[in-house]
């Protein structure tokens, strides 16, 4: 099992969720984060003085999938979240040793 962790633009949340859904991946969690990277922070003005927002609002989507689903997930996310401009985000793949479904106690891939 692998955890597919995608950092995307907040405005793409709905699109990514639907794309995953259509790829048969229905379980996922979303977290509001702020991120820094190649995308430059914005410099805003407030009452005339400047301030730089180094950490831009991003959304993180986590979904743990069976290993054979990983590429499907990557494709679904990339397809829905890509704009082609800096700041589109990343996908990280992290190995998951096991999963438990709290409701039933099931373990392993059955628990997903």
């Amino acid at each position: 099992m692998t955890r597919v962790e995608a950092i995307i633009r907040p405005s793409k949340l709905d699109a990514v969720r639907e794309a995953l859904d259509q790829a048969g991946i229905t379980g996922m969690s979303a977290t509001e984060i702020r991120g820094a990277g190649r995308q430059k922070g914005t410099t805003e003005r407030y009452r005339g003085s400047e301030y730089t927002i180094n950490l831009l609002p991003k959304m993180k989507i986590d979904t743990v999938v069976r290993d054979e689903q990983v590429e499907t997930a990557i494709e679904a996310i990339t397809g829905a979240a890509q704009t082609g401009e800096v700041g589109d985000g990343k996908i990280f793949l992290i190995p998951v040793a096991d999963t438990v479904r709290i409701r039933t106690g099931e373990r392993g891939e059955d628990a997903l």
Partner: protein, 454 residues
Amino acid sequence: MSTSRRTVIVAGLLLVFAALLAPTAMAQGEAVELPTEGQMALQLADMQRTMDTLWVLLAGILVFFMQAGFAYVEAGFTRAKNATNILTKNLMDFVAGTISYWAVGFAFMFGGGAASLFIGLDGFFLNKEQDPEALPIAVEYFFQLVFAATAATIVSGAMAERTKFKSYLFYSIFITGVIYPISGHWIWGGGWLAEKIGMHDFAGSTVVHSVGGWLALVGAWMLGPRIGKYDENGKPRAIPGHSLPMAALGTFILWLGWFGFNPGSTLAATVDIAHIAVTTNIAAAGGAVMAIVLAWGLYGKPDLALGLNGALAGLVGITAPCASVSPTSALLIGLICGAAMVGSVAFFDRIRIDDPVGAISVHGVCGAIGTLCVGLFAESRFGAGVGQDGLFFGGGAGLLGSQVIGVLAVLAWCLVTGFILFGAIKKIIGLRVDAQEEIEGLDITEHGAAAYNY
């Protein structure tokens, strides 16, 4: 509920019946309607006094609500981690001020006595003979109290996010009880600025706002800037407030209150209040328009925070001249103040005086400008105002000269007493919280209570 009232009404009605019967009475003999007329005249005077009381009280109630306005403007323009603190300060300065102004402030400001060119010395605890034909002392005190509380609360904004609560309490009581009343006495209490110099400040651009603003200047200067306000190169960094909706509501509440502040300063129910409300409103509009347009031009975007401050700048500026100028002049004054505020905010930022809400620029600077504008824009045809023509209306520079002296005298008074007061507090209990507390936020460290929870 009111039995005394009932008597008056009954008397009034008897009068009516007597009067209706009068023609017949007249035919038969006289002396019936004669005392009647005296009574009616009395009743008329009584009604005018009641109406005056009613108006001044209502105006004072509107000004009271400005406390909520200041609380929301200041909390909105600062960070969430200091919101409980700023709200507590706003509550406490009003309640402490209520008591200290009752005990001594009102007496210092409006009392008479030997030194009455400089300070009033009777009427402590409202112990004062009531002139039966004048406004009730109670409503005078109430109206003046809410003004005094305004001056005090201005300071908290400029010193926000880093001042010790205990120190705040101390200086707040002192400002409302002593510093504000004394300079107020000079201008409104029969003191030397009004009597000898002929300075005019209808509703308090200087008496209230500049006093608050200059004390805020001293306070902010002595405290130093908030951690993070300047980068390693000394360049100012903005620290955005945590809630523009709060700041916006606060501004609208202040604006509302100003319709008590300025028109109420007639201290009587007269038709002049209409004109004053109009000049007040149009100056606010001018200030906001100018601030937004300038921000748009200079900084690229129409900045709401500056727009809100602009409205307040216009309101502060029109406070002194509101009864003496035409709507056109009022609009100009608003525009001037809006521009001055934007410049002033940038200026104080540059000289490293960190004023989170812009209180020094809005109240100090625009208060002074507004006071000077009386000398420029006043027209004698507006009866309720200064009754002279300003420089631009053929009245010469005399009035302007008086206004300059007044502005400078109050500036000096505030700087001197401010330095003494804040200096003493700094020595004795300290003005500023320590760095760790400032970073964590005053809500938790000073009050043990976050402003927001789940």
